[in-house]
Subunit: 211 residues, 2 copies
DNA sequence: CAGTTATTGACTAGTCTGGTCAATATATTA
DNA sequence: TAATATATTGACCAGACTAGTCAATAACTG
């Protein structure tokens, strides 16, 4: 049984990436309904006929992107997690770095997921809701698996602390991503400053060094 | 000299808000170029002719929204700042509450500014860039005016600390906004939990109470 | 009442849509 | 080499939707 997207996946990878990024860009910009296949082929540098040769129609293309996106995240973010790392700051730092890494290949991949979640075209809404559960739910618990919560000070609100840590990483990573886009700066993608942020927050949330 | 938008501004306020919110919603969803005036009038519950009676054309409507949005922020957020409040947590908490307040009238007003910043339709790009400078630059310094930085512990990185505070407020406010939208929950818009977050971060950033 | 203004929605000319398909180019096989 | 199969192209289509108009109607004003 040849898979549905056999033709597309036989293309050389560079072309696949061009098409994926062009399509993601357009879907992010315009949403499913108003996204233009003409715009996609123009941006990807292929002909109209080719696009509909690889994917039968617009909907299939969209669903492929959804699957592909979730698979990339699954294969990179979640399987790269080092479960021997029990410190939450290191864990989150490592996930953040992997995310930025993925974004060098597919710059808008996370924006695409966000926009897909917000999209409520009846054409694709049900499919998204279905797929979303499958990955995100199990991924969510992986993120916090084997974390050593005993490092936190007595009496501190751990849930709120974790929120602060996550929002800090989100905000900081967003700032770094802008750099990545505007000038593909060397050294970016390392999230070098994260350790400084982590230090500040550790001194706040963790027990004093040595009991 | 009657102002350009005289006709629109003579409408009863409830109708103005309906139209503004319908238009903002559509521009956020689709961007300037692909936003449909048909969709706007349908959502606002007015006729096509009326819309073009109030505003001459799509571009004028968009520019009005931009002006209006910036004016609302100017008149509410920035002029509501209490400059006698020197504590940064209280200052940011107060600004956050005002923001949520504004969002009960114009739910997507900040999303609109964000999407306008991202929009690069040549039709409206230059006008936006111009207006943006005017308000945001001066507003930015107002936010931090008269803040008592001496409360911060010696040796702490104040810039990073302020980033953490802002990202935490942003993340928390986002969470609260979702509640505001999904179930217009009573008590929301108070950001009650902000004080708890502030306490946690204060104990981290501020000097120990009493020298 | 007359005169002014607000509101309507059918209508237009034209753009853009997703998708097709016959023609062409390239790759594979014998 | 010829023959077959597959990949790629872009002109083309019917139909949806576009921003904006305008003559007709309704509502208000003095």
């Amino acid at each position: 049984m040849t898979p549905i997207y056999f033709k597309f996946e036989s293309l050389i990878q560079e072309k696949q990436e061009r098409i994926i990024n062009a399509a993601i860009k357009e879907f992010v910009k315009s949403g499913y309904d108003k996204a233009s296949t003409n715009e996609i082929v123009k941006e990807a540098g292929i002909s109209k006929g080719s696009l509909f040769h690889y994917f039968n129609n617009k909907k299939d293309l969209y669903l492929y992107l959804l699957d592909h996106t979730l698979k990339v995240i699954e294969n990179n973010i979640y399987t790269d997690i080092n479960f021997k790392e029990t410190d939450i700051f290191n864990r989150i730092g490592q996930i953040g770095r992997t995310k930025l890494q993925v974004m060098t290949t597919y710059p808008q991949i996370f924006d695409f997921l966000k926009s897909a979640a917000a999209d409520d075209s009846p054409e694709v809404k049900p499919e998204f809701v279905e797929k979303q559960k499958q990955v995100l739910a199990q991924g969510f618990e992986k993120i916090y698996k084997n974390i050593d919560w005993s490092k936190f000070r007595e009496g501190i609100d751990i849930e709120k602390s974790v929120n602060i840590i996550n929002w800090t990483m989100l905000g900081y990573a967003e700032k770094e991503k802008e750099k990545l886009i505007s000038y593909s700066e060397a050294g970016v993608g390392q999230l070098e400053e994260w350790d400084r942020y982590a230090e500040i927050l550790k001194s706040c949330f963790y027990k004093i060094e040595g009991e």
